[in-house]
Amino acid sequence: MTTRVLFVDDEPRILDGLRRSLRAYRHRWEMAFATSGAQALEMLAATPHDIVLSDMRMPGMDGAELLTRISQNHPEVARVVLSGHTEPAAAIRVAIAGHRFLNKPADVEQVAGVITELTARPSRTAEVGDEGQRVRRAAGAVRSLPTPPEHLEQVRKLLGRPDGDLASAAYAVAHNVGLAAKLFQLAASPFFSSRTRVTSLGNAVAAVGSPTIRSLADTGELLWPGPTPRLAETVRQAVATADLVALIASPGNRPYAHAAALLQDVGRFARQPAGDPDVSTRAVGVELLRLWGLPTPVVAAVAQRDREHTPDASGLGVAAAVRAAYLLVQQTDARDPDDDAHDAELASLLAHPQLANAPTDWLRAADDAAARAEGWTAGRESRSGRERRS
């Protein structure tokens, strides 16, 4: 199937420039060009497209509004923002509506790279055919993940204090799946991020910066719609697993493992489009992380979380560390009641030489992590949590 890419910009000379500079790729994608949001929506209604790359500042319907509408009416279309604009309020609107963000004028290699990534079907993680389309639609409809208001308030407070530093903000964000997901997404894009390679949450917080994080916390878009006990449980389990995997994963794997543990069940936050048969929430989560440009080891570890792991002698790696932490948390009160025990697999993971000689009582560490997560998600910071931050 041919990949169809739609470019939207109100300045025809910018579109001409893109057409010229991307000529070499015309055998790989079919390219279409629209000079307004309204024209883009007409073209999408007439012909299915895979990706839209839109300017942000346009008369009439601006880029944020166009991409929001596309997320509602054509959720299967990947949304890329091309922007040279830095007005904070507008930047936050596109941060919610888009999947990827490029600076304008964009480097041809970067544009081609993003299109190639967004249209690639990695064999190990993505579904194909109709199922793949349903997964993409469910993931594409997500603009942000819901977050409980008290957690956003916590982040706002930490950033608003005169002594509020980025490290304490990172600590708060580490307990906030929705905001963490958005920050990783923004940190993966040159438009929002000052760094080329972002692996850890602390790094993502520093790269995006506190003004943007504060604006994100202030936007109503991240708010939890109402009491959702199942999601609260998902968050508690993710926070406990992320806390624990920091002890299990080796230093170089740790940032990826922490991110993967925190984002392991993002698919559960996505609403399934009405009328579509249900698709696997794991597949939707993986697709979402791919659309958002999270590092490959993170996406792979989330994709493989439910797969039985046989540890490799060369090292546990990211995915097996996340799996071990998940199985340990399953032995605690924070367990996911839908999953069975995997005692033999857990024993073989913990017997890996990387972990076997560590002086840690893993079950106890898991209980502690679960208790800290419980304290945090119940809205009170546990004693050990405070100690860790200071």
Binding site: T116, E117, A120, P122, S123, R124, R197, T199, S200, G202, N203, S250, P251, G252, N253, R254, P255, Y256, T296, P297, A300, A313, S314, G315, G317, V318, P353, Q354, N357, A358
Partner: protein, 127 residues
């Protein structure tokens, strides 16, 4: 561009790994001993380090400990160890190594581990 630093006192191994990693699209820097390795580490800020355990002057274990004492996000380290207890993986895990391969190894084993962590999407897909 993703930079891989190979620290090994055997020029043959350095060349073999350089060829294999460059073929995967990485930029490769090499150093022939531990001290030179640390200097290059500070100069090029690599995304991944391949480190021989057994080297004169400063061995791989000492290089690993120095690298792990630095602030900031830890760089992934793959250690190449001889199958002897003195320089084996058992010593490296507590010092914070991420992966260990026992000699003899194939360049494919190295590129696979590098790809799994810092590879571009296409390198991951080819596995």
């Amino acid at each position: 561009m993703t930079v891989i630093l190979v620290i090994d006192d055997d020029p043959g191994t350095c060349q073999l790994l350089t060829d294999a990693l460059q073929h995967q699209g990485y930029s490769v820097q090499t150093a022939g001993d531990g001290l030179a390795g640390l200097r290059t580490f500070e100069a090029v800020h690599p995304d991944f380090v391949v480190l021989d355990a057994d080297m004169p002057l400063l061995d791989g274990h000492a290089v690993l400990r120095t690298v792990r004492d630095r602030d900031g996000d830890p760089v992934p380290v793959l250690m190449l160890t001889a199958a002897t207890p003195l320089n084996g993986a058992a010593r490296a895990w507590p010092d914070g190594v991420d992966y260990c391969l026992t000699k003899p190894f194939t360049p494919d084993e190295v590129t696979k581990l590098v790809n799994s962590l810092v590879g571009a999407w296409w390198a991951e897909n080819e596995q």
